[in-house]
């Protein structure tokens, strides 16, 4: 009888635990979707991903194609939209023509690929390196921690854009080097987040249990501890994508990132910045695209933080 009761209780407990563990993610999703702003952010990101994938089908022109001799268009011609009264006999260019007589809308569409690639790749790079450094520092403590964190302090002592500019100058201008530079300057943020979380988790019972069972350092750090500190990393990563896209655009604007003729928003804007009074459309649209993309990741990041933050439960 007693045995039966115990087993029933155990089953109930197991059910309760499994129910809770399922609902935790469900609660997170539900919370995320309850916030209008995070739905908007997520929606924009999905749309941008689709645009990036389907760019060749959406863009009416090749982004690198110079239209001289192909169409009757002028350099830096203003947008021509048939629905808004532009004569039907003129070719339609909804965002106008750029300084090299290319269709700006097509370049903007292909630019989505570059921006998303920049955001995801730099953050992945920074997360991988930052996590390893932060985890090692937090877990071992002592001089390892001291050395790692002091190096991070030095990196943080420079305004990040200036440091990125200096690193790109060392590596040479170009998109990949700009990505590396932005990746390097964002490492400290992740290292700090991970170190802090590891410090708070490493003395937990399940970690001691794993150690008692003979788990190796690598196993404990990356199999036991890491999955339990993912929450702040996800939030930091999403917000980090926004910063990375902004910084990459700034480097390209200064001529240090993506090089012409790559259709990158920052460099499109940078190369036409002196035309702001004569052809504002060449500055407005790429900048607006950057803002929209950055805004989407910021909104999603904020939403995730609120949804995953247990203090708000």
């Amino acid at each position: 009888m007693t045995n039966q009761t115990t087993s029933t209780v155990a089953t109930l407990d197991a059910e309760a635990i499994s129910l809770e563990s399922v609902s935790l993610w469900r609660i997170t999703w539900r919370r995320l979707f309850r916030r209008k702003s995070s739905v908007v952010g997520l929606g924009i990101i999905v749309a941008l991903l689709l645009i990036a994938i389907a760019a060749p089908w959406i863009a009416p022109y090749d982004p690198l194609q110079v239209l001289i001799g192909i169409e009757d268009v002028k350099i830096r011609q203003a947008p021509c939209i048939h629905m808004l009264g532009c004569p039907q006999d003129q070719p339609q260019h909804i965002m106008g023509i750029d300084g090299n007589v290319r269709d700006q809308f097509s370049r903007l569409i292909f630019g989505t690929r570059v921006s998303l690639f920049v955001g995801f790749s730099t953050v992945t790079f920074a997360i991988v390196i930052g996590t390893i450094l932060g985890a090692l520092g937090g877990y071992f403590g002592g001089w390892i921690d001291n050395v790692i964190m002091r190096v991070m302090d030095v990196l943080l002592a420079f305004p990040s854009l200036l440091l990125a500019i200096a690193i790109v100058t060392v590596l040479g201008p170009g998109l990949i080097n700009a990505l590396l530079a932005i990746g390097i300057v964002s490492i400290p943020a992740y290292a700090r987040v991970v170190r802090g979380s590891v410090l708070s988790v490493r003395e937990m019972e399940y970690v001691s249990a794993s150690r008692a069972l003979g788990g190796g350092t690598f196993h404990i750090l990356f199999v036991r501890i890491l999955p339990n500190i993912l929450t702040p990393l996800i939030v930091q990563g999403t917000l980090g994508i926004a910063t990375a896209i902004l910084d990459a655009a700034a480097l390209s604007f200064l001529g240090l990132g993506a090089q012409p003729p790559t259709p990158e928003w920052g460099s499109m804007l940078g190369s036409e910045r002196n035309q702001i009074f004569t052809a504002p459309h060449l500055v407005f649209f790429p900048g607006f695209a950057i803002m929209l993309t950055v805004l989407a990741f910021n909104l999603l990041g904020d939403g995730l933080r609120d949804a995953l933050d247990p203090r708000l439960k």
Partner: protein, 360 residues
């Protein structure tokens, strides 16, 4: 207690400062390309280059170069710019005021607008004021500084050109404006060189302060008009961050029991908001303020590029591309040290806002 805390913080800053010197020195040496050809042109002969390298001490072993560099910096000597053929300290005195004026006005704009908006948003939680402020703040943090700057210039310098709202798109003062420095106006006799002269010239180049000192109201009006657009462009991101942080910190504090107690005791609403709530919300706000400083200094490069201001950001960018070691090292060190000191001030300010930090 307080002194001890400040001393401890100062000591902790020393390894960071050493690291900054090491990183700047290394970065400047790692910049690819030949500094001689970058300075003297591609056609410089080998003999000329050899002499140039010897004169500048670039043929010595790297550790020796670093030791010399450290000694020089300790004496306040940042070396000579190869490009401008001038001491870096001279260039700092000329260029730093532009950036200081720009950054401070941007910070001022961001605080004066951001904090009240955040408070208003929190006390009118979920109202249209709150929604509009937050939509605006989210958009603000997502805007590229260079785009915002160009758009502001387009609107205020072109679209509004024949109205009272017209603002100049570039430069610090209008052509022909009298910018006589205060020490000349006051007929002070200063030594030709030295630290006193440097400080006087530095202040004299802070146009707004100089205009106030010399009661030159035309210069004051003109400088402010030139500063509005760059300060708005540079200040928008920190402004949005501050508004967001003020709002969330205030919301958290306003939910506390002691606020209700204060209200129940009959303390006036405005007093509760400012004295009880805002004071306690200041800590996270000052953290954001400290973090914004880096954004400001980085953004200064972009803002100065757009508005044709020859400040620190601009010269540093030009020096990096021209491989002017001395400028790169000198200016980066000054900016990084400035940044460390400002963060130190923010940390010390914490202890005034929340004495628990000092005790722990």
């Amino acid at each position: 207690m307080m002194l001890q805390y400040i001393l401890r913080r100062l000591l902790a800053a020393i390894p960071v400062l050493f690291g900054i010197l090491l990183v700047t020195f290394a970065l400047a040496r790692l910049i690819p390309g030949d500094p001689c050809r970058a300075m003297l042109g591609e056609k410089a002969t080998q003999a000329t280059c050899d002499r140039f390298i010897r004169e500048k001490g670039l043929d010595k072993p790297i550790p020796e170069q670093f030791a010399i560099y450290m000694q020089d910096i300790a004496r306040g000597d940042f070396g000579n710019s190869m490009r401008f053929n001038q001491p870096v300290t001279r260039l700092l005195i000329e260029r730093l005021p532009t950036t200081v004026e720009l950054s401070f006005s941007a910070l001022l704009v961001s605080m004066v607008v951001g904090i009240p908006l955040g408070i208003l948003s929190a006390i009118r939680h979920n109202s249209w004021v709150d929604v509009v402020t937050m939509v605006w703040a989210n958009t603000g943090v997502s805007m590229p500084v260079f785009w915002l700057g160009l758009m502001l210039a387009y609107v205020f310098s072109l679209l509004l050109r024949d109205t009272v709202l017209w603002l100049p798109p570039s430069g610090r003062v209008s052509a022909g404006m009298d910018t006589t420095a205060f020490y000349i106006a006051w007929k002070l006799t200063l030594p030709e060189t030295g630290i006193l002269r440097g400080i006087a010239e530095f202040i004299g180049r802070l146009n707004i302060l100089n205009a106030l000192l010399t009661t030159n109201w035309d210069l004051l009006r003109d400088s402010i008009r030139h500063l509005i657009l760059p300060a708005l462009a540079l200040g928008t991101i920190p402004m949005a961050l501050i508004a967001r942080m003020t709002r969330s910190a205030m919301l958290e504090v306003l939910g506390q029991d002691y606020i209700r107690t204060a209200r129940a005791k009959g303390v006036r609403y405005n007093k509760v908001i400012l004295k009880h709530a805002f004071r306690n919300a200041l800590l996270p706000i000052s953290t954001v303020l400290g973090l914004s400083l880096g954004t400001l200094l980085g953004g200064a490069v972009l803002t100065e590029t757009i508005f044709g201001l020859s400040g620190v950001g601009r010269i540093l960018y030009e020096a990096i591309t021209a491989r002017d070691y001395a400028i790169v090292q000198g200016f980066t060190v000054v900016i990084a040290v400035f940044f460390v000191v400002l963060n130190l001030i923010v940390d010390i300010a914490y202890t005034y806002i929340d004495p628990r930090i000092r005790l722990n």
